[in-house]
Symmetry: C2
Subunit: 382 residues, 2 copies
């Protein structure tokens, strides 16, 4: 299969590229290297050192004997986007190429506007490029579970059967995003649904949960293939951040009460979900939504889990309930369905103490690289 990976230099994109290449697919990467620039902007870094994209590609060729081609450019530039789609003629376009941090989008007005324009225009350009140059290709788009918010009813996979005043309809599941970033994903979902409806585009919108863990079988093969490990207050996410905090003796920072519950997924399952979606494409005109996570946890539960495993490694850690910088419910109902990817054959890596131990070990090994100042979540929603 010819698979074009937009955002293939990022935290999810890079291991996905390697995994799909390893499975024998023909893989090309599009990336504007924005994620590396945001590290510089924020004075942050990856806890584990990462090679440049060129070094990564060369190392993979050396070790696996497989070529991945790279196109450096911005999806907002349609001349570029259209040309890549036309020339590569993909069967599947995996679209990770968005600003993906909620706190980053909430830094200030400029970052909110940047996030929405970058994400919405990039995706519009991809849709137009598909229509123009690859109308039979399949868009596998990364959305987020955060599009749904925390409703008081079960979260279904994208659509809701509604009965109202004696009539019925299957409707797009109502959205309640928690940041301007999450809102940008809702905007994308709206635009993609419309493009499928009017142009017959095929698409799978993967509403992904919070991704934890760092390495996959492929990224472990060589230090030059290593994936990035974000621990800072802007791009770091719950479990990985807690492990980095435990490794440095920093208290585990739980926002508010800690009852915030979300869906979580191991990055080794992320890459497999992408392949499952690609191998089972949507029909022409169909927008499928899959909720891409494997387990639900509250933030407090994760912190306690990390604290317990850290204790067995001799790392003394405390849990701090810091004032929540976000505006969100801290105790709420949460029951999100996630059976569709299991039905396609996903065999989940559920969270084990071993995974937490691996993350802690990695964090301890590289703890001298941590920029302490970047750990607190300073971006305030208010």
């Amino acid at each position: 299969m010819r698979i074009l990976i937009l955002g293939g230099d990022g935290f999810c994109g890079w291991p996905t590229a390697l995994y799909l290449s390893e499975q024998g697919h023909e893989v090309a990467i599009v990336d504007n290297l924005a994620r590396r620039a945001w590290d510089i902007e924020l004075g942050a870094n990856s806890l584990v050192p990462i090679a440049t994209l060129n070094e990564r590609i060369v190392a993979w060729q050396e070790l696996a004997g497989k070529a991945i081609t790279v196109h450096v450019g911005d999806l907002q530039d349609y001349a570029f986007t259209g040309q890549v789609v036309r020339d590569f003629a993909p069967d599947t376009i995996v679209h990770y190429a968005e600003q993906r941090s909620a706190p980053y989008s909430m830094i200030d007005r400029q970052h909110a506007v940047f996030t929405q324009v970058n994400n919405v225009v990039g995706t519009l350009n991809v849709l137009y490029a598909m229509k123009e140059f690859a109308p039979d290709s399949h868009l596998v788009k990364l959305g987020t579970m955060g599009e749904y918010g925390t409703p008081n009813i079960d979260i279904e996979e994208g659509y809701l059967e509604v009965e109202h005043n004696g009539r019925r309809d299957k409707m797009v599941y109502p959205k309640l995003p928690g940041s301007f970033y999450h809102a940008s994903k809702v905007h994308d979902s709206t635009n993609i649904e419309f493009a499928c409806r009017i142009w017959g585009i095929r698409s799978t919108d993967l509403h992904q949960g919070v991704v934890y863990n760092v390495q996959t079988a492929e990224t472990k093969r060589d230090a030059r293939l290593s994936n990035r490990y974000d621990y800072d207050g802007v791009f770091g996410t719950a479990l990985n951040r807690f492990c980095s905090q435990a490794a440095t003796g920093h208290p585990l920072t739980v926002h508010g009460a800690g009852g915030q519950t979300r869906g979580f997924i191991d990055i080794r399952d992320t890459v497999r979900c992408i392949e499952l979606a690609a191998l089972n494409p949507a029909e022409r005109g169909e927008l499928r939504v899959y909720n891409q996570f494997t387990e639900q946890w509250s933030v407090q539960q994760l912190a306690e889990r990390v604290q317990a495993v850290a204790g067995t490694m001799g790392l003394e850690t405390t849990i701090d309930h810091v004032k929540n910088p976000r505006v969100e419910r801290e105790e709420h109902y949460y029951n999100a369905k996630h059976t569709k990817l299991l039905d396609l054959g996903l065999q989940p890596h559920l969270l084990t103490d071993e995974t937490v131990r691996d993350l802690l070990t990695m964090a301890v090994e590289h703890r001298d690289r941590i920029v302490l100042d970047t750990i607190p979540a300073k971006v305030n929603w208010r």
Copy 2:
């Protein structure tokens, strides 16, 4: 009341400015004159000649003895937007300042991207300016009934009580927009709801139906105050367009079967609805949604109505069912609630033969101005 009207030079904005000024409010207009530029771009014009914004303001001062201040600039320019909001210190911000044509947004990729960026960034800037400079002011935002699409259940005013698997929640009403323009309004609604939730912004989102009729008591007072009359295939809307077609002996162009049913509102009610919303502001943190229309019609019904009235004036007209350039249901259930503005005191101008006759008379009077080539709806959704 101090009322800032964003987009105050447009089809709805101008009569709103005059009406609110006549009621004794202190009115200021923000406009970037984009609507006039789009006429030039499309080779289209207003069937009724309109004065420049400066001439309009001078005439109103002369005739009504009331000053309306004007700020020419683009909401995408935050330095401008923030300064106007800070300096004018509005009680109410009425936001019409968006690209409002579905066909315009579907011309090509550039027009789709322009429409979404223009509308979304303009509105984000307004929200940030309110937060920064006028946190207690009330945003009266023009949305569209087209955000809902044509679901198979009743359309409620913005929210839906859902019962699902034995649990209940009041959710944002699911959206299914019919163009990239309509999608931009959905994006706005998502962003506004979020801003109300996190910053305590007050907002009323008026999901307006198709506006018909042209003049109000104020715009009739002098030719220099006249409102624009759009009849072209891009900016013209159903009833007004049919009247202009009847006046020129052009067949009334019904798209497809003509069973497309929508909510309609007389422009004289539009201006009154804005005042009702302004006089009864939302609470801090509240996003109210009102469906702003007074009657439902199918396109076929409207065409027949115009044909009948035109007949009494000696205008022979035929109805042509042209191939539908849009992708939309041509026969569907449609029952949209619209009681909230009535509860606030709206006394609707329901569609009368007299109104149709007025429009036909106006169109006949100015029919030599019609650019025939702009009448067909040439923009194809596919």
